[in-house]
């Protein structure tokens, strides 16, 4: 790790203004991705602007049709939240599959979305539920947020403040874990909004993506059989030590069908 300056601003305004003055500065949320990269000397920010004192980035609020979660909500908080469990149990369950206990008590929703790791879990929920990402400047639809490998619509210095998740009729997330990292080798989030279904796939491509054919079939009939026969094309899917594109393509179908089964349970 290289040396850096540490800041702990008390308000979002201060945080944003600090970052604007430090072109090589970065926000620090749970540090579960950023600090690893710094230790490996893959990332060497000049300044770390710690978001942990920002009260306005915390909290979980439910209002009928949406659940709004602060960017600094830790994974464990979401996993254990009675409100989230009641409104969108699939979201709480997803948060509970992230990393290990220690990681879940440090890592945050905002950090996970801003980082946009191709194998991260939260992006599947954000895209699968059609969430809205609130920043210090604007609101960004999930459909327009994830741009590619570790790339989002965030502008330099833009701060995620919270995320609103629409409450579906039913939803579920099925994660086939990478045996080593326990990130998603393939994770599929399905959501049924009553005649309109969304399917988001993480871990399989350069960034999270929607699966149109499955969405169409599930919108017509939200049942396991609707997706069980859909063969996903391996083109463009990730290839690594653990899974070939063909294997990932196969797993997308299996995980999608299992997710629908789980959602219907």
């Amino acid at each position: 790790m290289h040396a850096f300056e540490y800041h702990r601003p008390a308000s979002s305004k201060d945080a944003v203004s600090l970052v604007s003055k430090k072109p090589e500065g970065r926000y620090l949320a749970g540090g579960q991705s950023l600090v690893q990269a710094m230790k490996l000397r893959l990332s060497s920010p000049s300044d770390l602007i710690d978001l942990s004192a920002l009260k306005d980035l915390t909290g979980i609020r439910t209002s009928g049709s949406t659940v709004e979660i602060g960017a600094m909500a830790r994974h464990a908080e979401v996993a254990g939240s009675a409100e989230v469990k009641k409104a969108i149990p699939a979201l709480a369950a997803l948060a509970g599959t992230i990393g290990d206990r220690q990681v879940r008590h440090m890592g945050t929703l905002g950090g996970s979305l801003a980082n946009d790791d191709p194998a991260a879990d939260y992006p599947a929920a954000a895209l699968g539920l059609g969430a809205t990402i609130h920043t210090n400047k604007r609101k960004i639809e999930a459909d327009k947020f994830f741009k590619g490998l570790y790339e989002t619509a965030l502008e330099p210095g833009e701060l995620i403040t919270s995320v609103s998740f629409p409450v579906p009729k039913r939803a579920a997330y099925m994660k086939f874990k990478n045996p080593a990292s326990r990130f998603a080798m393939v994770g599929v989030f399905v959501a049924d909004f009553g005649g309109k279904a969304r399917v988001a796939v993480t871990g399989a491509g350069p960034s999270v993506f929607r699966q149109a054919e499955m969405e169409k079939a599930l919108s017509a009939k939200f049942a396991p059989d609707s997706v069980a026969g859909i063969k996903v094309k391996p083109d463009g899917l990730n290839s690594d030590l653990h899974a070939s594109p063909e294997y990932r393509a196969h797993l997308i179908t299996v995980m999608a069908r299992r997710a629908v089964e789980a959602a219907l349970k």
Partner: protein, 780 residues
């Protein structure tokens, strides 16, 4: 003291210290005038070092020195020695290329050390290390054992990258037996390369004292005396008396900390150059790149059988990957500790094994938990199970038809088993695993979309490699005895010094149980000291499950001397004949009378010799012993594994694992179970999750825990364990050793179960979900 401490589940004495963070590991040792080292490592697998420019690094803040291979060569620092000379099939010595601590002229694997930067702080050392400019001329690389002989040459001394071709057994007789066989089973097997990953990374902290012109090296090592011997005699050219090696608390080794490593040499040498304490602790990434790896065999194995499934002969051809350089014991692992185990538990009368060991552009390979014996067991037990399937015999029945039942038994591959009862462990495991209930469990699994399979492994292990003279005739360049010393203090408490080393095994408890039981003292009166060359008289260290069988026996021998001297003293004190003195449970008695002296009274008399036969007997009560075993010990056992395979994804889980082992006499069953659990987890890891992978270019793909998968608790089931006991015939405790068994027996049991579930002949390890899915896909 009424119940015996031998066989008791005594809580581990060391755990309080470990669990409360009071353990003292090498990295915890901070010395006055401490400085810190960072190594510049090659990013290339094979390259000529055209230029190493250290000027910028030398000027960086806090930097005390930057050294390269040239500096070490100029200072006449030698290369690292190999501790075992293998003589090849033509009677020629193996090829021993130089292994300089810092690269000279060329680098031969990713992670090889090119330079070292020593600075006031660790951060400064690491920052400056980035400023070392190395001009590499990249060469083509070879990483696969099977391709090595045709690959680019690593060392001038070995033009075809072959270290040796070695063989054991009567080839002509074996070939003749194959020609007459009713059935031949053949398997092409790969024993996957593993990366050890002890929880504590390697670490070394050396300090030079001008006052004594001597060095102290704290190092995470499994055998400090061997480390000292190799470093002083072969590398630094110093008398042993000038180097003290301390291996304090060590957080696991699994073999990877047996060896003398370049970093240890460099910090020790540099400590004198700088007159500073120099510390280096590996980052996890460095561990992946530069700790000695394990296994990595490519094998063709054949078993010849008669029509009734009796084994007639075995023929094995193995290519073993030694990596880029010869690590300390690399050469003996795929030979002496592998081919000699190919008889397994069976009466196979003829065995021939030929081993070609090769250099490749990968990290050196050496002993890793089991060391040769897991590879041998994998060959034997995969062959046996496959033969049973091919001949439509029950895999249990085929084993029974071939078990050795008469002991001592001379195998055709040099070893002589002293004792065992293979039916006993097999019978017990069949019951404990409820093998009879397997068909119904299989049906049950099918209902939830899972294929269930069952697999067996009956392993044999040779522990406590011995005797020294035989090992010597086979090429060992070291003795294989152990030393122990008993120091009785004037008040009757005891300090025991052992040349064994504990890095997780619990010696401080097990050895204390032996001593306390033998002397009839409470556990608290016995302290075990190990790991410091200036305290312990000598030691060969801990590996090959040798601690209790060899180290424990040395202690028992010294205890016998203590009791013998104690009797002399007691006889004097009680004015009785020495031959009338009996010693029992801490009391010296005159036979047939009620006269007695407590152990503490006798000890006190030895140190305050007022009433003492000074004319005939030296004062004091302190004895030591060196013990060189007459033979290996031969633990053996039977394992049964049941797996469930998800038909859709290929994901495989261990549904049940049952192990019945014969470790001879057991001192502490709780500690033994812990050893078996750990060994099984590592064996299951090899079979299901762990596989070191290099790209063809020589880059390590599995260079972190993001890609290299060691099993977690959730990956292994709750093990069902039991033991059977045939006491070792040639040591006084009747013990055999238990440290490696699980890792030796498990891979074959797991792979036999998976191939049973899938109905395929073979599958490569690790059987990851993708591998299993592909196999089903092909079959479908």
């Amino acid at each position: 003291m009424s119940t015996s401490l031998i066989g008791a589940r005594v809580q581990r004495k060391e755990d309080y210290r470990f669990l409360t963070g009071a353990g003292q590991y090498t990295d915890d040792v901070e010395l006055p005038h401490q400085s810190y080292a960072a190594f510049v490592r090659s990013p290339h697998a094979h390259a000529v070092l055209k230029k190493v420019n250290i000027e910028k690094a030398k000027k960086a803040p806090g930097v005390l020195a930057v050294y390269t291979g040239t500096d070490l060569a100029n200072a006449k620092v030698g290369g690292l020695p190999c501790g075992w000379l293998i003589t090849d099939v033509k009677g020629q010595p193996m090829k021993e290329p130089p292994y300089p601590p810092l690269a000279q002229g060329k680098v031969r694997h990713v992670g090889e050390r090119v330079a070292v930067v020593i600075a006031e702080t660790l951060a400064q050392a690491r920052d400056a290390a980035e400023l070392v400019e190395v001009d590499y001329q990249v060469l083509p690389a070879v990483v696969d054992a099977a391709k090595a002989s045709k690959g680019p040459k690593l060392h001038d001394i070995a033009p075809d990258n072959t270290c040796y071709v070695w063989a054991l057994g009567d080839k002509a007789a074996v070939d003749a037996a194959f020609a007459k066989a009713a059935h031949v089973t053949r398997l092409d097997l790969v024993n996957n390369r593993l990366i050890p990953n002890a929880i504590e990374p390697r670490s070394a902290n050396a300090v030079y004292s001008r006052a004594g012109d001597d060095y102290t090296l704290y190092v995470a090592s499994q055998n400090p005396h061997v480390e000292r011997l190799l470093m002083t005699a072969f590398v630094l050219g110093l008398p042993e008396s000038k180097v003290r090696v301390v291996a304090p608390d060590v957080g696991g080794g699994f073999g990877s900390k047996i060896y003398l490593y370049p970093e240890d040499v460099v910090v020790t040498w540099a400590s004198k150059q700088l007159n500073r304490a120099v510390k280096w602790t590996a980052e996890r990434s460095e561990s992946f790149l530069s700790d000695a790896h394990g296994r990595d065999h490519v094998t063709t194995a054949e078993l010849a059988l008669d029509k009734d499934g009796k084994f007639l002969a075995m023929r094995v051809q193995t290519t073993a990957n030694l990596g880029a350089y010869l690590s300390t014991f690399a050469s003996c692992i795929p030979t002496i500790l592998y081919a000699t185990l190919l008889a397994g538990q069976y009466t196979t009368p003829l065995i021939y094994c030929e081993v070609t060991s090769v250099f490749t552009n990968t990290a050196p390979v050496d002993a890793y938990r089991g060391a040769g014996r897991p590879e041998a067991t994998y060959v034997v037990e995969r062959l046996v199970e496959t033969a049973a399937r091919e001949m439509k015999l029950d895999p249990v029945e085929i084993r029974r038809r071939n078990f050795i039942r008469q002991f001592p038994y001379q195998t055709p591959v040099a070893l002589q088993y002293d004792t065992g009862d293979y039916d006993a462990t097999l019978d017990a495991v069949l019951k404990l695993a409820d093998v009879a209930g397997f068909p119904s469990r299989k049906q049950q699994s099918l209902k939830s979309g899972k294929l269930r399979g069952i697999g067996y492994a009956c392993y044999i292990e040779a522990c406590g490699i011995a005797p020294s003279n035989v090992a010597g005739s086979l090429g060992a360049r070291a003795g294989l005895f152990e030393a122990g010393e008993i120091r009785v203090h004037p008040t009757g408490t005891v300090t025991v010094f052992t040349g064994s080393h504990s890095h997780g095994q619990g010696h401080e408890t097990t050895f204390a149980q032996v001593v306390a039981e033998r002397l009839g003292l409470p556990m608290e009166a016995v302290e075990i000291v190990h790991g410091d060359t200036s305290k312990v008289l000598f030691g060969m260290g801990t590996y090959g499950s040798r601690s209790i069988a060899v180290g424990g026996t040395a202690i028992v021998k010294a205890l016998d001397k203590i009791v013998a001297k104690g009797k002399k003293i007691a006889a004097h004190l009680m004015e009785a004949a020495e031959s009338d003195i009996e010693y029992d449970k801490g009391v010296f008695k005159v036979a047939g009378t009620d006269k007695k002296k407590m152990f503490g009274e006798v000890a006190f008399a030895a140190y305050v010799p007022h009433n003492y036969p000074l004319d005939k007997l030296e004062p004091g009560l302190n004895e030591n012993a060196f013990y060189d075993p007459a033979n290996f010990t031969f633990p053996a056992g039977s394992y049964v594994c049941e797996v469930e395979v998800d038909k859709e994804t290929g994901a495989t889980t261990i549904a049940a694992f049952t192990a019945v082992d014969d470790f001879g006499r057991i001192i502490n069953p709780m500690i033994v179970e812990g050893q078996v659990h750990g060994g099984l987890a590592q064996g299951i890891g090899q079979a299901l999750t762990e596989g070191c992978r290099y790209e063809d270019s020589g880059q390590l793909v599995t260079g972190s825990f993001l890609d290299y998968c060691i099993p977690r608790a959730g990956d292994v089931p709750s093990f069902k364990l039991d033991t059977r006991e045939t006491a070792c015939t040639h040591n006084p405790l009747g013990v055999k050793g238990c440290g490696e068994a699980g890792a030796i027996g498990a891979p074959a049991a797991v792979m036999n179960a998976i191939t049973d579930a899938l109905g395929v002949k073979d599958l490569p390890m690790p059987a990851t979900a993708q591998t299993v899915w592909r196999s089903m896909h092909k079959a479908a």
